[in-house]
């Protein structure tokens, strides 16, 4: 058990080190927090629950619209970006980036991290 959590921690640290990333977390598709690297720990559990709902609702919507399964949800605000991306059938990754960061590299790294998380939880 510690082994798996250590691996997830390492993955999150690597992801947070990408330029422009402010915080990140791993959660289950059911909205339970697994691990996080966030400033305000108190709210992470709610954020995990909300993010799972967003991705789940997006998936329900796209399937009904015959658009297949979404890769991720990106939410943009004046202050930053919130990205939720699936990581296999059980988990998802949540990432907060600042407003001015380019999404190219971040999404590339997020994709790689989500592949890794999927493998770790197999």
């Amino acid at each position: 058990m510690t082994g798996t959590l250590d691996m997830i921690d390492k993955l999150l640290v690597d992801l947070k080190n990408v330029g422009g990333v402010m915080a990140c977390a791993a959660a289950s598709r059911d909205g339970l927090l697994i691990r996080s690297l966030m400033q305000k720990e108190q709210y992470v559990e709610s954020l995990a629950a909300m993010s799972a709902t967003m991705l789940g609702a997006a998936e329900t919507a796209t399937i009904h619209a015959e658009m297949g399964i979404p890769t991720r949800v990106i939410v943009e605000s004046d202050i930053g970006k919130l990205i939720v991306e699936g990581a296999g059938p059980k988990a998802l990754l949540i990432l907060l980036a600042n407003k001015d960061s380019g999404l190219g590299l971040i999404l590339l790294e997020l994709d790689r991290s989500s592949q890794k998380l999927k493998e770790i939880l197999k």
Partner: protein
């Protein structure tokens, strides 16, 4: 009787540890097992008892700092807490503690001090911070012989002995003895990775004074706070407008809702820290058009509150259906008969009848708006989830 101070564990042990008995907290490496002994020190002091803490793997000062992190003031209890310092001599540092083990790699040296304490002090709780460290320094066989002797003497002098032990790869014989007949009670502490719930649990492997329950409890360690029984997800569901969001907010230490025009369109989420329990609460929308979302929210729940408006029995069919949608069959659930303040509200027994509920399903009268009955409902559900006795 000495309380362990660990939520739920004292209930399982019929109130705690009787005088003259020994107990070991047997941890897998890598989990937060040493906190159990520490919390038992606090449990003893908090109830007016005297406590001796044998420190082997760190400085006594660090233990005192940990007490502070947990928010347990020991300054006022200092005259009832004694340390046996076997760490400072090991690193060649001076010690200001009352009892010092001058040669921590010599079991005779332990024997002398511990036996003196057992004979001199009034009935106390003697907690070993790390039996495994003593074993590493003094040898497995030697340590076990000493422990066997201390346990017998403690029985004669009405002390309670508590040991933290980490199950490093010792000889099978040693581990079997520790899990077997060396102690009156064995509490196992381990880690699990069940699907995506990563957590730590404890359970009673053995206890010769209480009937043991095979249940294991998930726990979390909070600073401040200490050990809390952890319930990762409790679901709150029910028909439109029943008062689910109001209920989640009334119960939670902190909560948020995604509502628009007074109705929930995504979810409610709350966190509760109450009487040794730490739980996260997920509230669903009630309107049928959100049913696809409800399915997303309900996985991994450990229990369900089904909230109904007691003045509106026409919605009870929908309420039952929601147990179906959330796939809650087999989970413990409690009916929250809400809005008891309104004229015409059905009494809990009438709700049960209209619902055709079995007798063993609890129906709790609640006024969520005024926070009435919400904690009663919580305690009943928790009791069901943790299989209370």
């Amino acid at each position: 009787m000495v309380e362990t101070g660990i939520p739920k564990l004292d209930d399982y042990l019929n109130g705690g540890i009787p005088k003259g008995k020994s107990l070991v907290y047997y941890s897998q490496p890598g989990v937060e097992g040493e906190i159990f002994g520490l919390q038992t020190v606090y449990g003893t002091l908090n109830n007016g008892g005297t406590c001796v803490f044998v420190v082997s793997s760190t400085m006594p000062q660090i233990i005192k700092d940990q007490f502070k992190d947990f928010g347990w003031g020991i300054n006022t209890l200092k005259d009832r807490l004694f340390f046996v310092d076997s760490y400072n001599p090991l690193i060649g540092a001076p010690s200001d503690e009352k009892y010092v083990i001058s040669k921590p790699d010599n079991i005779e040296c332990f024997n002398k001090t511990i036996i003196d304490i057992i004979k001199e002090l009034p009935p106390s709780t003697i907690v070993f911070g790390s039996l495994s460290t003593i074993m590493d320094l003094c040898g497995e066989k030697e340590t076990i012989e000493a422990v066997r002797n201390w346990n017998k003497l403690a029985m004669l002098h009405d002390h309670v002995l508590v040991y933290n032990f980490t199950a490093w790869p010792y000889s099978e014989q040693t581990l079997d003895l520790i899990k077997g007949n060396l102690f009156n009670s064995v509490i196992t502490i381990g880690g699990i990775a069940e699907r995506v719930i990563f957590g730590q649990y404890f359970g009673i492997l053995k206890s010769d004074w209480a009937e043991i329950s095979s249940k294991s409890m998930l726990f979390r360690v909070l600073r401040p706070g200490g050990i809390r029984i952890f319930i990762p997800k409790i679901l709150v569901t029910g028909p439109f407008d029943a008062g689910k969001s109001t209920f989640v907010h009334a119960l939670s230490t902190r909560a948020i809702s995604v509502d628009r025009l007074g109705t929930t369109i995504a979810m409610d989420h709350g966190h509760i820290d109450y009487k040794g329990f730490s739980a996260d609460i997920f509230g669903t929308p009630g309107q049928e058009r959100f049913d696809p979302i409800i399915k997303l929210l309900s996985g991994e729940s450990m229990g369900v509150f089904l909230v109904v408006d007691s003045t509106n029995p026409s919605d009870f069919v929908r309420a039952k259906h929601m147990l179906d949608i959330t796939k809650s069959y087999g989970l413990p659930y409690v009916i929250v008969a809400n809005k008891q303040d309104l004229p015409g509200a059905l009494k809990p027994e009438e709700v049960r009848e209209q619902f055709h509920l079995p007798d063993d399903v609890p129906v709790v009268p609640v006024v969520a708006k005024d926070k009435k009955g919400v904690y009663e409902a919580f305690e009943i559900l928790i009791e069901r989830i943790t299989g209370g006795i």
